[in-house]
Amino acid sequence: MIGSSQASQPRTNPQGSDGRAVASSVIGADLVVVGNVEGPGTIVVAGAVSGDVRGRHVTVGPGGRIEGSLEASSVRVDGTVEGPITAEAVVVGGAGRVVGIITHNAITIEPGAQVDGRRPWRPAGFLASKRP
Protein backbone atom coordinates (compact mmCIF):
# COMPACT_ATOMS: atom_id res chain seq x y z
CA MET A 1 0.00 0.00 0.00
CA ILE A 2 1.27 3.45 -0.75
CA GLY A 3 3.24 4.98 2.04
CA SER A 4 3.72 1.82 4.02
CA SER A 5 7.31 0.99 3.01
CA GLN A 6 10.17 2.28 5.15
CA ALA A 7 11.77 4.24 2.37
CA SER A 8 8.76 6.29 1.51
CA GLN A 9 7.43 7.00 4.98
CA PRO A 10 7.70 10.70 5.79
CA ARG A 11 9.39 11.44 9.10
CA THR A 12 6.32 13.04 10.56
CA ASN A 13 3.36 10.81 9.76
CA PRO A 14 0.33 12.91 9.00
CA GLN A 15 -2.53 12.01 11.26
CA GLY A 16 -6.15 11.84 10.37
CA SER A 17 -9.00 12.98 12.54
CA ASP A 18 -8.94 9.70 14.43
CA GLY A 19 -5.24 9.94 15.19
CA ARG A 20 -4.16 7.10 12.92
CA ALA A 21 -1.50 7.62 10.29
CA VAL A 22 -3.00 8.72 6.98
CA ALA A 23 -2.06 7.09 3.71
CA SER A 24 -0.73 9.07 0.77
CA SER A 25 -2.87 10.05 -2.14
CA VAL A 26 -1.56 9.92 -5.66
CA ILE A 27 -3.08 11.85 -8.52
CA GLY A 28 -1.53 9.77 -11.27
CA ALA A 29 -0.28 10.99 -14.61
CA ASP A 30 -3.47 9.80 -16.27
CA LEU A 31 -5.80 11.62 -13.89
CA VAL A 32 -7.19 15.11 -14.37
CA VAL A 33 -9.02 16.75 -11.52
CA VAL A 34 -11.15 19.80 -12.21
CA GLY A 35 -11.97 21.00 -8.75
CA ASN A 36 -10.42 21.31 -5.31
CA VAL A 37 -8.47 18.66 -3.47
CA GLU A 38 -8.10 18.75 0.27
CA GLY A 39 -6.68 16.25 2.74
CA PRO A 40 -4.69 15.96 5.98
CA GLY A 41 -1.91 13.84 4.55
CA THR A 42 0.52 13.49 1.68
CA ILE A 43 -0.61 14.23 -1.84
CA VAL A 44 1.49 13.44 -4.87
CA VAL A 45 0.38 15.20 -8.03
CA ALA A 46 1.67 13.50 -11.15
CA GLY A 47 -1.37 14.43 -13.18
CA ALA A 48 -3.23 17.69 -13.48
CA VAL A 49 -5.35 19.63 -11.04
CA SER A 50 -7.33 22.63 -12.15
CA GLY A 51 -8.33 23.95 -8.77
CA ASP A 52 -6.93 24.40 -5.28
CA VAL A 53 -4.88 21.82 -3.46
CA ARG A 54 -4.53 21.70 0.28
CA GLY A 55 -2.61 19.04 2.12
CA ARG A 56 0.15 18.42 4.63
CA HIS A 57 2.95 17.35 2.31
CA VAL A 58 2.35 18.00 -1.37
CA THR A 59 4.71 16.92 -4.12
CA VAL A 60 4.16 17.98 -7.70
CA GLY A 61 6.00 15.45 -9.83
CA PRO A 62 7.88 16.15 -13.06
CA GLY A 63 4.82 15.90 -15.30
CA GLY A 64 2.44 17.16 -12.68
CA ARG A 65 0.59 20.40 -12.87
CA ILE A 66 -1.53 22.50 -10.55
CA GLU A 67 -3.49 25.46 -11.86
CA GLY A 68 -4.77 27.03 -8.71
CA SER A 69 -3.56 27.67 -5.22
CA LEU A 70 -1.43 25.26 -3.26
CA GLU A 71 -1.31 25.24 0.50
CA ALA A 72 0.55 22.73 2.65
CA SER A 73 3.03 22.37 5.48
CA SER A 74 5.67 21.33 2.99
CA VAL A 75 5.73 21.48 -0.75
CA ARG A 76 8.06 20.10 -3.37
CA VAL A 77 7.64 21.20 -6.97
CA ASP A 78 9.26 19.25 -9.77
CA GLY A 79 6.46 20.03 -12.17
CA THR A 80 4.38 23.13 -12.76
CA VAL A 81 2.36 25.25 -10.39
CA GLU A 82 0.45 28.22 -11.73
CA GLY A 83 -0.99 29.94 -8.73
CA PRO A 84 0.02 31.02 -5.24
CA ILE A 85 1.88 28.63 -2.97
CA THR A 86 1.58 28.96 0.78
CA ALA A 87 3.73 26.58 2.80
CA GLU A 88 6.17 26.46 5.70
CA ALA A 89 8.79 24.71 3.59
CA VAL A 90 9.06 24.94 -0.16
CA VAL A 91 11.50 23.21 -2.48
CA VAL A 92 11.42 23.94 -6.19
CA GLY A 93 13.48 21.36 -8.06
CA GLY A 94 15.58 21.92 -11.15
CA ALA A 95 12.73 20.98 -13.45
CA GLY A 96 10.13 22.84 -11.46
CA ARG A 97 8.23 25.85 -12.62
CA VAL A 98 6.19 28.14 -10.42
CA VAL A 99 4.26 31.18 -11.54
CA GLY A 100 2.78 32.81 -8.51
CA ILE A 101 3.49 34.25 -5.09
CA ILE A 102 5.28 31.82 -2.76
CA THR A 103 4.58 32.61 0.90
CA HIS A 104 7.02 30.56 2.97
CA ASN A 105 9.19 30.16 6.02
CA ALA A 106 11.93 28.21 4.26
CA ILE A 107 12.51 28.02 0.54
CA THR A 108 15.01 26.17 -1.61
CA ILE A 109 15.17 26.90 -5.30
CA GLU A 110 17.42 24.44 -7.11
CA PRO A 111 19.45 25.37 -10.20
CA GLY A 112 17.32 25.23 -13.30
CA ALA A 113 14.06 26.01 -11.57
CA GLN A 114 11.83 28.68 -13.08
CA VAL A 115 10.25 30.75 -10.39
CA ASP A 116 8.24 33.81 -11.32
CA GLY A 117 6.64 35.72 -8.49
CA ARG A 118 7.24 37.38 -5.17
CA ARG A 119 8.44 35.18 -2.32
CA PRO A 120 7.32 36.80 0.94
CA TRP A 121 8.89 35.29 4.06
CA ARG A 122 6.90 34.53 7.18
CA PRO A 123 8.02 33.39 10.64
CA ALA A 124 7.94 29.67 11.49
CA GLY A 125 4.49 28.44 12.39
CA PHE A 126 2.71 31.09 10.32
CA LEU A 127 0.60 28.51 8.56
CA ALA A 128 -0.61 26.87 11.77
CA SER A 129 -1.76 30.18 13.18
CA LYS A 130 -3.46 31.02 9.88
CA ARG A 131 -5.47 27.84 9.76
CA PRO A 132 -8.58 27.50 11.95
Binding site: T12, V44, G51, E88, V91
Partner: protein
Protein backbone atom coordinates in the same frame (compact mmCIF):
# COMPACT_ATOMS: atom_id res chain seq x y z
CA UNK B 1 41.95 2.50 -13.82
CA UNK B 2 45.15 4.35 -14.84
CA UNK B 3 47.42 5.49 -12.04
CA UNK B 4 47.97 8.78 -13.89
CA UNK B 5 44.34 9.45 -14.44
CA UNK B 6 43.24 12.49 -12.53
CA UNK B 7 39.63 11.97 -13.09
CA UNK B 8 38.68 8.47 -12.18
CA UNK B 9 35.08 8.06 -11.65
CA UNK B 10 33.80 11.50 -10.76
CA UNK B 11 31.90 11.81 -7.57
CA UNK B 12 28.28 12.22 -8.43
CA UNK B 13 27.18 15.70 -7.52
CA UNK B 14 24.37 15.14 -5.15
CA UNK B 15 21.59 17.64 -5.54
CA UNK B 16 21.37 20.05 -2.64
CA UNK B 17 19.17 18.33 -0.14
CA UNK B 18 16.27 20.38 1.07
CA UNK B 19 16.91 21.32 4.66
CA UNK B 20 13.79 23.02 5.88
CA UNK B 21 12.82 22.38 9.48
CA UNK B 22 9.80 20.35 8.44
CA UNK B 23 10.12 16.97 6.74
CA UNK B 24 10.09 17.78 3.04
CA UNK B 25 8.28 15.36 0.76
CA UNK B 26 10.69 13.02 -0.98
CA UNK B 27 11.01 13.15 -4.80
CA UNK B 28 8.42 11.31 -6.84
CA UNK B 29 10.63 8.43 -7.91
CA UNK B 30 10.85 7.07 -4.38
CA UNK B 31 7.13 6.66 -3.99
CA UNK B 32 5.62 3.29 -4.88
CA UNK B 33 2.44 3.03 -6.86
CA UNK B 34 -0.55 1.36 -5.31
CA UNK B 35 -1.26 -2.12 -6.60
CA UNK B 36 -4.81 -1.21 -7.49
CA UNK B 37 -3.75 1.30 -10.06
CA UNK B 38 -2.22 4.56 -11.01
CA UNK B 39 -4.19 6.91 -8.80
CA UNK B 40 -5.32 6.64 -5.21
CA UNK B 41 -7.46 9.13 -3.36
CA UNK B 42 -7.03 8.07 0.22
CA UNK B 43 -9.39 8.31 3.17
CA UNK B 44 -9.92 11.80 4.58
CA UNK B 45 -9.20 13.42 1.23
CA UNK B 46 -12.09 15.34 -0.17
CA UNK B 47 -12.39 16.38 -3.77
CA UNK B 48 -15.05 18.82 -4.89
CA UNK B 49 -14.99 18.57 -8.64
CA UNK B 50 -14.73 16.05 -11.44
CA UNK B 51 -12.15 13.37 -11.95
CA UNK B 52 -11.23 12.01 -15.34
CA UNK B 53 -8.73 9.18 -15.62
CA UNK B 54 -7.67 7.03 -18.54
CA UNK B 55 -6.12 4.52 -16.20
CA UNK B 56 -6.89 2.99 -12.86
CA UNK B 57 -8.31 4.91 -9.96
CA UNK B 58 -8.96 3.89 -6.40
CA UNK B 59 -11.03 6.12 -4.15
CA UNK B 60 -11.21 5.76 -0.39
CA UNK B 61 -12.11 9.37 0.30
CA UNK B 62 -14.96 11.68 -0.58
CA UNK B 63 -15.78 13.00 -4.03
CA UNK B 64 -18.48 15.52 -4.81
CA UNK B 65 -18.51 15.40 -8.56
CA UNK B 66 -18.42 13.04 -11.51
CA UNK B 67 -15.84 10.35 -11.99
CA UNK B 68 -14.70 8.84 -15.26
CA UNK B 69 -12.07 6.15 -15.27
CA UNK B 70 -11.01 2.99 -17.02
CA UNK B 71 -10.86 0.81 -13.94
CA UNK B 72 -12.41 2.26 -10.83
CA UNK B 73 -12.36 0.90 -7.31
CA UNK B 74 -14.54 2.60 -4.73
CA UNK B 75 -13.36 1.56 -1.29
CA UNK B 76 -15.48 0.77 1.71
CA UNK B 77 -15.11 4.17 3.35
CA UNK B 78 -15.53 6.13 0.14
CA UNK B 79 -18.45 8.44 -0.51
CA UNK B 80 -19.19 9.52 -4.04
CA UNK B 81 -21.83 12.13 -4.77
CA UNK B 82 -22.01 12.27 -8.52
CA UNK B 83 -22.07 10.06 -11.56
CA UNK B 84 -19.63 7.27 -12.21
CA UNK B 85 -18.52 6.17 -15.65
CA UNK B 86 -15.99 3.39 -16.13
CA UNK B 87 -15.12 0.29 -18.08
CA UNK B 88 -14.87 -1.68 -14.88
CA UNK B 89 -16.05 -0.54 -11.50
CA UNK B 90 -15.95 -2.28 -8.15
CA UNK B 91 -17.97 -0.60 -5.44
CA UNK B 92 -17.54 -1.25 -1.74
CA UNK B 93 -18.57 2.19 -0.52
CA UNK B 94 -21.38 4.68 -0.91
CA UNK B 95 -22.39 6.13 -4.25
CA UNK B 96 -25.18 8.64 -4.83
CA UNK B 97 -25.46 9.04 -8.54
CA UNK B 98 -25.85 7.13 -11.76
CA UNK B 99 -23.37 4.49 -12.71
CA UNK B 100 -22.54 3.67 -16.28
CA UNK B 101 -19.99 0.95 -16.81
CA UNK B 102 -19.14 -2.23 -18.62
CA UNK B 103 -18.43 -4.48 -15.68
CA UNK B 104 -20.06 -3.53 -12.41
CA UNK B 105 -19.29 -5.37 -9.20
CA UNK B 106 -21.27 -4.33 -6.14
CA UNK B 107 -19.63 -5.59 -2.96
CA UNK B 108 -21.18 -6.53 0.34
CA UNK B 109 -20.61 -3.14 1.94
CA UNK B 110 -21.76 -1.08 -1.04
CA UNK B 111 -24.62 1.37 -0.81
CA UNK B 112 -25.66 2.65 -4.20
CA UNK B 113 -28.43 5.15 -4.81
CA UNK B 114 -28.86 5.72 -8.50
CA UNK B 115 -29.44 3.91 -11.76
CA UNK B 116 -26.89 1.43 -13.02
CA UNK B 117 -26.34 0.84 -16.72
CA UNK B 118 -24.11 -2.18 -17.19
CA UNK B 119 -22.93 -4.89 -19.48
CA UNK B 120 -22.03 -7.30 -16.69
CA UNK B 121 -23.35 -6.95 -13.19
CA UNK B 122 -22.72 -8.75 -9.96
CA UNK B 123 -24.06 -7.94 -6.52
CA UNK B 124 -22.62 -9.60 -3.42
CA UNK B 125 -24.99 -10.62 -0.70
CA UNK B 126 -25.41 -7.57 1.51
CA UNK B 127 -24.78 -5.03 -1.25
CA UNK B 128 -27.55 -2.44 -1.51
CA UNK B 129 -28.78 -0.83 -4.70
CA UNK B 130 -31.64 1.65 -4.94
CA UNK B 131 -32.28 2.46 -8.54
CA UNK B 132 -32.93 1.01 -11.94
CA UNK B 133 -30.70 -1.64 -13.34
CA UNK B 134 -30.43 -1.46 -17.10
CA UNK B 135 -28.47 -3.79 -19.28
CA UNK B 136 -26.86 -1.83 -22.08
CA UNK B 137 -25.88 -3.79 -25.16
CA UNK B 138 -22.29 -3.10 -26.13
CA UNK B 139 -22.31 -0.27 -23.66
CA UNK B 140 -18.56 0.26 -23.77
CA UNK B 141 -17.38 3.54 -22.41
CA UNK B 142 -16.39 5.06 -25.73
CA UNK B 143 -15.19 8.32 -24.26
CA UNK B 144 -12.09 6.74 -22.78
CA UNK B 145 -8.94 6.54 -24.91
CA UNK B 146 -7.50 3.03 -24.94
CA UNK B 147 -4.21 2.91 -23.07
CA UNK B 148 -1.17 3.05 -25.38
CA UNK B 149 -3.17 2.47 -28.50
CA UNK B 150 -4.15 -1.09 -27.65
CA UNK B 151 -7.79 -1.99 -28.05
CA UNK B 152 -9.58 -1.70 -24.75
CA UNK B 153 -10.32 -4.99 -23.04
CA UNK B 154 -13.78 -6.45 -23.45
CA UNK B 155 -16.25 -6.71 -26.26
Amino acid sequence: MSVFSKSGKPDPVSPPSPAPTMAAPEPMAARPRGPEGNSVISTEVKIVGNLTSTGDLRIDGTVEGDITSRVLTIGEGAKIDGSVTAETVRISGTVSGHIRAGTVAIARTARVTGDITYRTLSVEEGGAVEGQLRRGEGDKVATLRPVQGTPAAGA
